[in-house]
Homo-oligomer: 218 residues x 2
Amino acid sequence: MNPILSVFETSPDRGRGLARDMRVRWALEEVRQPYDVRLVSFSALEEPAHRARNPFGQIPTYEDGELSLFESGAIVLHIAEQHSGLLPVDVTARGRALAWIFAAIDTVEPPIFDLDIAGIVEGGKPWHAERKPMLEDRVRTRLRELAAWLGERDWLEGEFTAGDLMMVTVLRRLQGSDLLGEQPGLAAYVARAEARPAFSRAFASQKAVYDNAEGRSA
Amino acid sequence: MNPILSVFETSPDRGRGLARDMRVRWALEEVRQPYDVRLVSFSALEEPAHRARNPFGQIPTYEDGELSLFESGAIVLHIAEQHSGLLPVDVTARGRALAWIFAAIDTVEPPIFDLDIAGIVEGGKPWHAERKPMLEDRVRTRLRELAAWLGERDWLEGEFTAGDLMMVTVLRRLQGSDLLGEQPGLAAYVARAEARPAFSRAFASQKAVYDNAEGRSA
């Protein structure tokens, strides 16, 4: 039995791989674990069957035998623990990878998410023009700090880990803004990650779901 | 050699235990691991010595022998992995605890943090009165969903885990707002956690740091 991943039936990012199932797909491809997909419509996010899998009504969810998981970070970490290749065994190196997983989600993503959401939810409000530069500066600060750490490294701690996987999916949310381009080292880091075969396979899988949904509704 | 935790020399929360070192102190008390503290001033957060420990200039940081860690979530998880009592051994129960650690940081905390920060940074802006109810409603949604999950349970998954520890520290940021009181089940959950002896010891330790700093500067 393959694990089952719940994903949007029609992703709001139009197949650009920005929804949080992309992290899990990528991790599964890195460790060569086949999986099945359950397509979830927006209305189904509210239904008891989905809420039982995720109390907050989000995707992705992940079921593997008796284990039912939610939160993309937890799912990626679980996969990294169950397979080799994404999390070092050495306790010190493992700790560093954990630090980057949490830095991606808890320090770098929040200002990027806030900027994104403000554009969507408050883009038409009179104050958005004044708030936007403030939100962008918060993002710039984190990108500058991250770029300073990365320096000439290929990956955050030498070898590619789940920490890089999480960080790159966070930085990819900046597609369409100029902020990532202001830090060429980070743009190159994202490009290096996107060139991994596992990333390409994951990206193609999620894009196929979106393209199929479009085809059915045409 | 005890592990060393970096904390604010003078916490902006005036000793209410809302800074992120509280999570780590609590985890260390739960597993009965003694630790030493390094006091960091705000200006020292910018210095190379601190940036080497945390590229984003935040507290807490954690050093244990060769391992230098940052991100409170990663530190708590590391402690939970190194000692028994905070993370179940069974792979299914462990996965559930991971899900709640990430739910606390990635789903419940962001709207609480946004509400908090908006009051501090944008409290004087003309738009704050219109944005505040919107931010409060985002918090309400997450609290309602969390309360629905918790129901009559004492803890999120039966036994107290690092997931509860993280979630409670997130909910405690709502001190001083009425939002937590709107969900009596969650308020009782926080009170239940605060009644744990390990929480009390951790709270007293961080409060002593603040009280000492005040004494010195009087």
